[in-house]
Symmetry: C2
Subunit: 557 residues, 2 copies
């Protein structure tokens, strides 16, 4: 079976791909009245993720809500509405935010961070995990030691919880389906877990919903693999359908000759394999999408993910891509999640191709490594958002409260104590960096490439945050770094000023004074100007030479 995706509709080159294209047409609200005079372009606006709330739940705050720059969009209310009721089932008032006990299948670092978010809100989280000292264990309201892939255990666990959710998709989905039939509340729905946990089924599903994907096909034997190679060319990506994550379950065949070894590296055709056409992406992007129990959907800002040996290594938020690409990525992510059922946060991993297409890579039905930065950088973290969603509270604001963030994974660099030592050395440097927050998952064993913790750096601009990351990663800063980094900034409003201004750079160079030249326009790029000026001192700039035409009023000049 060969699935071909239709990308045309989603391509950024197509002017017709409107932001509103995927909203259910029966309930379209008019877009908010734009400012009749756009005073200047706002960062907050550009970086604002999709806001697709539908119901203004409390009429008491509706006029406030309407004042927000929120793109309102409707969806039909379904059977599981926001249940932010004032009373428990027995009629007594709710103490705090919610008294629903959230059961989480899995107790790894995602479960741990869910427990941290839950503790602020005093929401009780129980975890089911086979490891007695799993990362979530110490923080959970309760930890049931057992397998989330064992039917009797999951059933027993479900009895103790008000709502069931996951921090890993490789769970016993048949049991979840049975529990749902018995009335147990699973968020997201078992149907969603079933689609996601089989990567091939996932691809078929999204393809049927017209989500742009790299082309793919199932392979059952070497003949089928060869046919796929003929069709898609080489290198060819071969993937396991199930139990694949962090690069496990992927193998690349560079030529037809490599097919048998790639297949056997994955455990043979019996494992269930499929192939994907090589996606020559220029960047990997990701979008965290949240859906409430009332079906309201909100998207977090698009981030760039940088992998190292197939494992997420660095996440940059927001992604440095044009507005059009961000919009397209949000649209694809929104459409993908709209096709799945249930509440919670979802991660949508995407490829950005050279020709400006966005292709879906895969979806996770849970909080995700690409959203860890949200703990420090967004108004509502992905973990708080997931809890709000599954217990039926209104979704929080997913937009960024800091202009830029970088998440750096602390991956095991060696086994055992040497690995711990290297991690501790990096942590010691991170603790000296302004705006850096260190997360340590408290895993008892250090293994190579294992996710042991992460560091999030936030700051006033991506330039500043990148400089801090570099400083953190450099074991030794060279003695003469101060002389290499620019001490004088030469800025001008337009490159038409360059012929005059370049002489300043030439003369500084004669005297051996390092400088940088930038086009920073107060009226065309006010945010850049603001960020340039705010970060100049930190970057070591001691003098700014600002060139401008006679009529210009530079702020602060």
């Amino acid at each position: 079976m060969l699935q071909k995706s239709s990308n045309a509709v989603f391509s950024s080159s197509s002017e017709s791909s409107s932001f509103f294209a995927f909203r259910p047409s029966h309930s379209l609200l008019p877009p908010p009245t734009p400012l009749s005079l756009r005073f200047f372009s706002m960062t907050a606006d550009d970086d604002h993720p999709h806001h697709r709330k539908l119901h203004l739940r409390h009429s008491s705050t509706s006029s406030f809500k309407l004042l927000n720059p929120v793109l309102a969009c409707g969806a039909s209310p379904d059977s599981h509405q926001t249940s932010s009721s004032l009373r428990n089932d027995d009629g007594s008032p709710v103490h705090g935010l919610s008294e629903s006990i959230v059961g989480v299948l899995g107790g790894g670092q995602l479960g741990r961070m869910l427990c941290q978010a839950a503790s602020k809100m005093a929401i009780k989280v129980m975890v089911l995990d086979p490891s007695e000292n799993c990362p979530a264990s110490a923080l959970a309201y309760d930890h049931m030691v057992g397998s989330f892939d064992d039917s009797a255990t999951v059933q027993e666990f479900a009895k103790r919880c008000g709502v069931l959710t996951v921090e890993i998709e490789h769970v016993d989905v048949a049991t979840l389906e049975r529990l749902e039939q018995q009335g147990v509340d699973c968020e997201p729905r078992a149907s969603t877990i079933r689609i996601i946990q089989d990567k091939y089924l996932q691809k078929v599903h999204f393809s049927q919903h017209a989500i742009p994907l790299p082309e793919f096909m199932e392979i059952d034997d070497l003949e089928g693999a060869k046919r796929a190679g003929d069709l898609f060319g080489y290198p060819l990506m071969i993937k396991s359908k199930r139990l694949a994550y962090d690069g496990r379950g992927n193998a690349v065949a560079k030529s037809e000759e490599e097919l048998p070894s790639a297949v056997s590296a994955l455990g043979g055709f019996g494992r269930g394999l499929y192939v994907e056409k090589w996606a020559p992406f220029v960047k990997e992007l990701a979008v965290i999408v949240a859906r409430g129990r009332d079906n309201s959907i909100l998207c977090y800002p698009v981030v760039e993910t940088i992998h190292k040996e197939n494992i997420c290594h660095i996440v940059k938020a927001p992604a440095d891509v044009p507005w059009k690409i961000r919009k397209l990525a949000n649209d694809v992510a929104y459409k993908a999640i709209s096709s799945l059922e249930g509440a919670g946060v979802f991660a949508v991993e995407l490829f950005l191709t050279k020709d400006g297409q966005i292709l879906l890579n895969e979806v996770a039905p849970r909080p995700h490594n690409s959203g860890h930065h949200t703990i420090e950088s967004c108004y509502t973290s992905q973990f708080e958002q997931h809890l709000r969603a599954v217990v039926g509270l209104p979704l929080g604001d997913p937009s960024m409260k800091t202009p830029a963030a970088i998440m750096y994974n602390l991956l095991g660099e060696d086994e055992g104590e040497p690995g711990f030592k290297m991690a501790h050395q990096l942590i010691a440097r991170a603790l000296e960096i302004p705006g850096a927050t260190v997360h340590w998952y408290d895993k008892p064993e250090m293994r190579k490439q294992r996710k042991m913790g992460h560091i999030t750096l936030v700051g006033p601009s991506m330039g500043v945050v990148e400089a801090r990351l570099n400083s953190m990663l450099k074991e030794e800063v060279s003695e003469n770094q101060n002389e290499v980094s620019p001490r004088v900034g030469i800025i001008m409003g337009s490159d038409s000023d360059l012929p005059v201004m370049k002489d300043a750079a030439r003369i500084l160079d004669m005297f051996g004074v390092s400088c940088e030249v930038r086009i920073v326009s107060a009226h065309r790029t006010p945010e850049l100007m603001f960020s340039y000026a705010s970060s100049a001192r930190e970057r070591g700039i001691q003098v700014i030479i600002a060139g401008a035409g006679g009529a210009a009023h530079l702020p602060g000049e």
Copy 2:
């Protein structure tokens, strides 16, 4: 005994009270080289709290550090240096950030939030608290049920911890002193707790260190009280020396006749009383100050605290006071904490008087209600900072990562279930507000005026955050609010434009269109302009009429 404080040196009206006045003179570093051309005034600079780091601990990052706008200041290293060593005492590498077990006397909401900060860093926190289900209990690594004011219990507790600290100052300080002599590490020092827990002793101490205070004197009998009344006038504030907090232990006598009843309300002279001259403050301010084990000191931004029936109700960060007042408040706070011993965070509560004086009210040797906003609004929260300080890690950046924050305490409005219901209603509204984070302390019993939780709102400007707070607190928003709030913003660069622009307002008024008029200068007040434009839509502004002279280039125009 009568203590008179000398305020003159600290008064903002005295031009000689320099920022550097209190730095130990033997180690003054030159101030950082200023930008030779100040491009424009930066918010980040204005709001930047004191940065008084002394040791650039790792030479590898020193050149990076020097690039920061940090006011470096020295203090002689003492016996308990930063112990961010790579090895445990037994020679094995440290796993994570620190393996020191932090023992906290007290397990209330402050202990709970310490545990939350500790969980990110996987630092183990043990609490000692008499209440089995105290707020910190569920999150602590271990909870010893017992009194923090009982000698044998505290000694037993100390055996299990690497470092001892407090979340309440009313602990058995004699035992702490004995433990210190036995080599137990108490941060801050027992000497500090002893000074702070007796408010009269605290006043004497700060007075001896030339910290400006309201005048005060000890009273032993009614005659003494009358003499104090004659000297200080009425109303007269009478206070218990010990076990006083949240307004408990304070009584006001409006006249000499009221002295006996005020004294008996406090339990009589046997309790140990003193009087304070009434401080006619215009605002109450507070500064959280952190000191590392290496004696480095950092101040958080100055906040305004608003009390309701003597209990902290609302905190606004940063305080809306002139730069000079902020500097003065920081200076007083810095000097006060410099006079105390030990590591940790301290809260310095201050009065701002009508004539621009800053008077010290009192100090808490621990995280404090006035610093709760730091969890969402600062790069390093006061709780993470306290843990970094007491275990000997470098202090983190205390500056704000969001332009504005308001903390609103969820105080019990009624006893029992009706109180829970009212809190839940407010929480339900808060969950709908963008940028609001709800903290619930999970206290089993609701009592009137009890601190049950808090809500922090952060946003792009104080105006936006205040509007959101108002929206949260309003049960019902009036139907015609949209028409009362301005729909058109008329802005101009200078009031010289007003004669022309006021006609626009007049005509809008004729047509019944609400408007607001503001002076927003792109070159004199770029931050205001930015914040105005960013928040306009949210505030309901649909049209902006911008007036400017012919030569001006308005960004984005």
